[in-house]
């Protein structure tokens, strides 16, 4: 269970956090971009801000970096109160989506920039630039201009430039979204390796759930200027606390159900005419009445349509995906009338076949019907 669900007062204090955000909020000429947020980022942690476009990820990042001034709240980096400190004194490294390499400087000059502002000696600068370029495997490109590099190489220069100053926190705003799929995967692996090696506290912004799941120590899922849930990737994927998180991260099948009874651990529901008993991980389950039942596709099992605890459905179409096939089932009890399951490509069923959907006893979550959609 995540112990970091946003709360009103920050109290727990084990080792002091690398970044501590205390009720920081931001509006732009009246419209709220970020509601007050509380968040502690541990030292060496890779924390991802994940959420749909416009949810406030960049705003939060810019507040940490100091490019925006918080309307309220306070911000600490390594215990230092930095709310009033200008960005160039915060000692943070930043990598932007479009790289933002200085086009009028070559690679070495780009990387050396942060050292020159710190009046590091020439010899040391040269040495550290070399090291940083070695770290991103670009030793041989020191004399090139940014536009003579490929997208992936530019991204690496940007990373080297941010790392060479040994920042207290590394911030990345959708750094890979301009790269194509293969390069993107390669860069993800590379960044993650460098980050763990250096033990660098990292805040990573993305709206790509797969990227977030694969790279993060913890993920903060945001929507509409709020953090909706914070937790490890497994917690987020397996135990989403709200309908929004469940559908935004991973695929979700949602059934309209009625909650008949609930006990400490178990819940008795009706889905259509099927009666189910489930035990859930949820902290707060809604009151009996109409609810939405959430299950991941890979937790659903295909059985005969006759079984008593199976939800009846019909195959609508099967979509070939190479390594597997997606079975889309027409199911009257499902929200939107459709349920999706993945099966090996060879086990795809013809349209029209009647099947039953069996749900596992543990895993599904129950949300109040009026739970948010956004």
């Amino acid at each position: 269970m995540s112990s970091e669900i946003p709360r009103n007062t920050p109290q727990d204090s084990r080792q002091h956090p690398a970044v501590q955000i205390d009720g920081v909020a931001k509006s732009f000429s009246g419209t709220v971009a970020l509601e007050p947020v509380w968040l502690k980022i541990r030292r060496g942690e890779f924390l991802t801000l994940l959420g749909p476009s416009g949810c406030g990820k960049t705003t939060l990042l810019n507040l940490i970096a100091g490019f925006l001034e918080a309307d309220e709240g306070e911000l600490f980096i390594n215990r230092d109160l930095v709310t009033q400190v200008p960005p160039h004194q915060r000692e943070i490294g930043i990598v932007f989506q479009n790289y933002a390499l200085f086009p009028h400087m070559n690679v070495a000059q780009n990387v050396a920039y942060g050292l020159r502002t710190r009046r590091v000696s020439k010899a040391e600068t040269a040495e550290r630039v070399r090291e940083a370029l070695a770290l991103v495997k670009l030793e041989d490109f020191a004399d090139r201009r940014p536009r003579q590099l490929s997208g992936g190489q530019q991204q690496r220069v940007a990373l080297a430039r941010a790392l060479v100053i040994r920042p207290r926190v590394l911030l990345l705003d959708e750094p890979f979204s301009a790269l194509d799929r293969n390069l993107r995967t390669a860069m993800q692996v590379e960044l993650k390796e460098i980050q763990s090696r250096l033990g660098l506290t990292t805040v990573f912004v993305t709206h790509d759930q797969s990227e977030a799941l694969s790279m993060s120590d913890r993920i903060a899922v945001m929507s509409r200027g709020r953090i909706r849930q914070i937790g490890t990737p497994t917690e987020i994927y397996d135990q989403p606390q709200s309908r929004f998180v469940s559908t935004f991260v991973g695929d979700a099948n949602l059934f309209s159900a009625t909650l008949r009874e609930k006990t400490t651990a178990d819940a008795i529901l009706e889905v259509g005419s099927t009666r189910l008993t489930l035990s859930t991980y949820q902290v707060d389950m809604p009151a009996p009445g109409p609810v939405t039942l959430f299950v991941r596709p890979e937790q659903c099992v295909l059985t005969d349509s006759g079984k008593p605890d199976a939800i009846p459905a019909t195959v609508a179409l099967s979509v070939y995906q190479g390594s597997y096939a997606e079975l889309h089932l027409d199911c009257p009890s499902a929200e939107g009338g459709r349920v999706m399951l993945r099966v090996p490509a060879s086990q795809a069923l013809p349209a029209g076949a009647s099947v039953g959907i069996a749900l596992p006893q543990r895993g599904p979550a129950i949300y109040a019907r009026e739970d948010d959609i956004a």
């Binding site: 930043i94 932007f96 920039y113 536009r147």
Partner: protein, 283 residues
């Protein structure tokens, strides 16, 4: 596939206009090679005399004046226009931005006469500036602005400022803000960010704006005429004077021809400058 519908229809009006331009240009070339017959508007026989006449001190002086005028105007316009453009692009409040834009733009649409006339009132010996300074007791003799290079430059700076501001603002607004943020995150303070990132990246804009300022100044007429009051002769005032006071059209033609070649040469230099800068990658 119909390959080029409308080509003829759409191109012909402009071809006509191009002919008119070419013809008037040829007329100038032709006149510049003809002799002036005093008291007559029709030129005489072929001659190169007009060009030899241009070697006289008056004309040399006018050329020199024009170049100096262009130089100082471009320089000061740049020095004033850059901060203005910068403020306009970077102003946080949209209202301030609009205000700066409108204020710096309105003069662009006022034409040479209104602006020059206004400056005459400002700069005269009993004009606004001198009156204020005298009443404040800062000076006891009026400062000469009218009929001086200084006065003409002041008015010309005002004249070219809007277009320079617009061009610089366009250049500045296309600089990726993330570049500056990146520099800031790397520890650079505001002055340093400006000197090492913003300024170098706006150089192509500066060059373009300067060359435009140059061209505008070069062809300005009313300002040097009215504020220079005959004391500051430029090529444009001379062309008018030679043409309409002496009715020596052949000489006027050769004068404007040389002026034109001169402009082209200067702009060509600017252009190669830009290209070189773009190669360096300040873009």
């Amino acid at each position: 596939m119909s390959k080029r519908p409308f080509l003829g229809w759409f191109a012909s009006p402009s071809i006509l206009i191009a002919f008119a331009i070419a013809a008037s240009f040829l007329a100038i070339v032709q006149y510049s090679l003809r002799a002036h017959v005093p008291g007559s508007l029709n030129p005489g026989g072929l001659t190169l005399d007009n060009f030899t006449t241009l070697w006289k001190a008056v004309y040399g002086q006018a050329f020199l004046n024009t170049v100096l005028l262009c130089f100082w105007t471009a320089l000061f316009t740049l020095l004033i226009g850059y901060p203005l453009a910068f403020a306009m692009v970077r102003a946080k409040s949209a209202r301030l931005r609009s205000a700066i834009l409108l204020i710096s733009l309105t003069p662009l649409f006022l034409g040479e006469i209104v602006r020059t006339y206004s400056w005459m009132i400002v700069l005269g010996n009993r004009g606004f500036v001198n009156a204020v300074l005298m009443q404040m007791g800062l000076i006891d003799r009026p400062i000469d602005f009218m009929f001086t290079m200084t006065g003409v430059v002041i008015a010309l700076v005002h004249f070219t400022l809007p277009i320079v501001v617009v061009m610089l603002a366009a250049a500045l607004s296309h600089i990726d803000r993330n570049l500056e943020r990146a520099a800031t995150s790397l520890g650079a303070g505001r002055v340093r960010v400006f000197a090492t990132v913003t300024l170098p990246l706006s150089i192509p804009g500066i060059v373009a704006a300067t060359s435009t300022a140059f061209a505008w100044t070069f062809s300005a007429f009313a300002t040097p005429q009215m504020i220079g009051g005959g004391k500051v002769q430029t090529i444009s005032t001379l062309v008018y004077q030679v043409g309409f006071a002496s009715f020596n059209f052949p000489l006027a033609a050769s004068l404007s021809l040389v002026g034109l070649l001169f402009t082209i040469a200067v702009l060509a230099i600017f252009n190669t400058g830009i290209r070189r800068l773009e190669k360096i990658g300040a873009h």
